[in-house]
């Protein structure tokens, strides 16, 4: 499967609408008074979960290429990455506004003292330069450094999963599912990196850059 330019545009439009569904759902649930007994926690959890999902989707583009040789999906990566940052911003805004009402002393203490908040906050901070440099102009400007900078996505992903893992009290089944997906996605990369010179040859970098 190799969609043409027009098809790519349509896929992108559909993905854009799809990625806004979780937000629309929150508004709908809010409007119908269905955000559970603890609406702040609900919004916090929901936006956090979707940020993590978008992040894992972003990280799955390369493994798909490595496994199938398909390359067109790489063109969706910027959008899913930016949606990760979008939901992370909503998550962070919920935390500082609805949860803590801009009590900066309380927020600062919370971030410094509690490891799960600290790793989540760190992931958010690290993701900010990635979002800022996601446009074409910045890519050209940064050149080879752009790729280096965007390697930050790996520590961000690990910190984000850790953030979820350390948050839960005892039942780690849900966070471990995300950890498993992340390890598979990273594992595929490592496997191909090690066996790159042999057999299965992935699409060359020149080929990928052409499509951007």
């Amino acid at each position: 499967m190799r969609p043409d330019k027009q098809q790519i545009a349509r896929i992108k439009a559909a993905l854009f609408v799809l990625a806004l569904v979780p937000l629309a759902r929150l508004f709908w649930l809010g409007f119908t008074d269905n955000l559970s007994a603890n609406p702040v926690e609900f919004v916090e959890r929901s936006t956090g979960t979707w940020a993590l999902v978008c992040l894992l989707v972003t990280l799955s583009m390369t493994p798909i290429r490595l496994l199938t040789g398909m390359t067109w999906q790489i063109q969706l990566r910027r959008m899913t990455g930016l949606f990760m940052y979008f939901y992370a911003c909503l998550h962070f805004a919920t935390y500082i506004w609805l949860d803590h009402w801009f009590f900066w002393d309380e927020i600062t203490a919370d971030i410094i003292k509690h490891p799960y908040v600290l790793v989540g906050f760190t992931a958010f901070v690290l993701a900010t330069p990635l979002a800022i440099t996601s446009n074409r102009a910045m890519m050209l400007k940064l050149g080879a450094n752009w790729k280096k900078l965007h390697m930050l996505v790996y520590p961000i992903a690990i910190l984000a999963v850790l953030h979820f893992w350390w948050l839960v009290k005892k039942d780690i089944r849900e966070p471990s599912l995300y950890a498993l997906v992340l390890s598979v996605l990273l594992g595929i990369r490592i496997y191909y990196k090690r066996t790159q010179s042999r057999a299965h040859k992935p699409a060359s970098k020149a080929q990928l850059n052409q499509q951007h």
Binding site: T32, N34, S36, A37, N38, K113, H114, K169
Partner: protein, 325 residues
């Protein structure tokens, strides 16, 4: 012991009805504007607005006495009290208990009284109800996770049950063992905690007039998800101390090891008194979110002993509450 009847909340702490209504109006209006535009475009506008939750109500309890406890508190709505629960025997999500607790059979029910007591025997729930008159007690409930509710419990003083059981001189602590039946409780099939769920109190805490066994709330028989047919309520301690669906009460001379102490000893202690000055390793305990106050209301300050300090602080005189958390 004398039960002091002074109001235990500051008037300033209570959200006035007008402010509460305003917030809800604002929330609805804000939601309405955005949702309407979305709804019109998708043809959803004809859908009726659904009720928030559809929680089943229980049988009314006849003949309980009202008391002055928490009379000026704003109650957490029934639907919230009965739909937002920590009851891991039915699943670890807050909504799981309300969804899965239908399989619990609170009748027939017996409670086994064991250990250092003269009346070491099994007693039916019906006979327990005859031991003491039922009263309504409006208590704040503060969860260790940083949220709280105000619940109109119906129950009786635990001291009445203890006096009936006639503990011996060796009874220094009381252990509460709750039901762990994988047939009735799907969560027990997963080894998340060391089932059955066990909690404990020091004898003087158990005998304190604020400590009750609850059998109902909002004038109705306790919903299954809230710990039917009988659960412990100790309002100055974090909510997890209140064992639900109790099947065994054991009197002992050794401090019982509670389930949470076993699961994470550095996070949960035996006493678990509400204390804004002793943070939980993973979150501060300075503030709490009052359930039912909506999306746009700030947290409120947590009070020492959940606001019951004048009645219970003397139980811990001379103790280092940072070490005995």
């Amino acid at each position: 012991m004398l039960i002091r009847r002074k109001p235990d909340v500051l008037p300033s702490e209570i959200t006035s009805h007008e402010v509460y209504q305003d917030r809800r109006q604002f929330l609805k209006a804000a939601g309405f504007g955005l949702a309407t535009s979305a709804a019109i475009s998708t043809g959803l506008i004809s859908l009726p607005v659904q009720a928030a939750t559809d929680i089943k109500h229980g049988q009314k309890i006849a003949g309980f006495r009202k008391t002055a406890f928490g009379a000026d508190e704003k109650l957490t709505p029934f639907d919230d009290v009965a739909s937002y629960n920590n009851f891991y025997e039915f699943g670890t999500s807050k909504g799981d208990p309300a969804q899965h607790a239908g399989s619990l059979k609170p009748r027939p029910w017996t409670v086994s009284i064991e250990g250092a007591v003269k009346k070491s025997k099994t007693i039916s729930i019906e006979d327990i109800f005859k031991l003491a008159p039922l009263e309504e007690r409006i208590y704040r409930m503060r969860c260790v996770e940083g949220w709280s509710m105000v619940i109109p419990w119906v129950g009786f003083s635990l001291s009445r049950l203890i006096n009936w059981a006639e503990p011996t001189g060796n009874a220094k602590y009381v252990e509460f063992v709750t039901l762990a039946d994988p047939m009735q409780m799907p969560g027990v099939r997963v080894p998340i905690l060391d089932w059955p769920y066990v909690e404990g109190l020091r004898m003087d805490e158990a005998m304190h007039p604020l400590t009750i066994m609850a059998v109902g709330l909002y004038g109705e028989v306790l919903p299954n998800q809230n710990g039917a047919p009988m659960r412990l309520v100790v309002p100055w301690k974090y909510g997890f101390k209140g064992g639900k669906s109790i099947v065994k009460i054991r009197f002992t001379d050794k401090m019982p090891q509670s389930t949470w102490m076993k699961a994470a000893p550095e996070e949960y202690g035996f006493y678990a008194n509400v204390n804004p000055d002793v943070p939980h390793p993973r979150w501060s305990q300075k503030t709490e979110r009052r359930i039912g106050s909506g999306l746009f209301s700030p947290r409120i300050k947590t009070q020492p002993f959940n606001g019951y300090a004048d009645q219970v602080a003397q139980l811990y005189a001379g103790m280092d509450l940072r070490r005995n958390f």
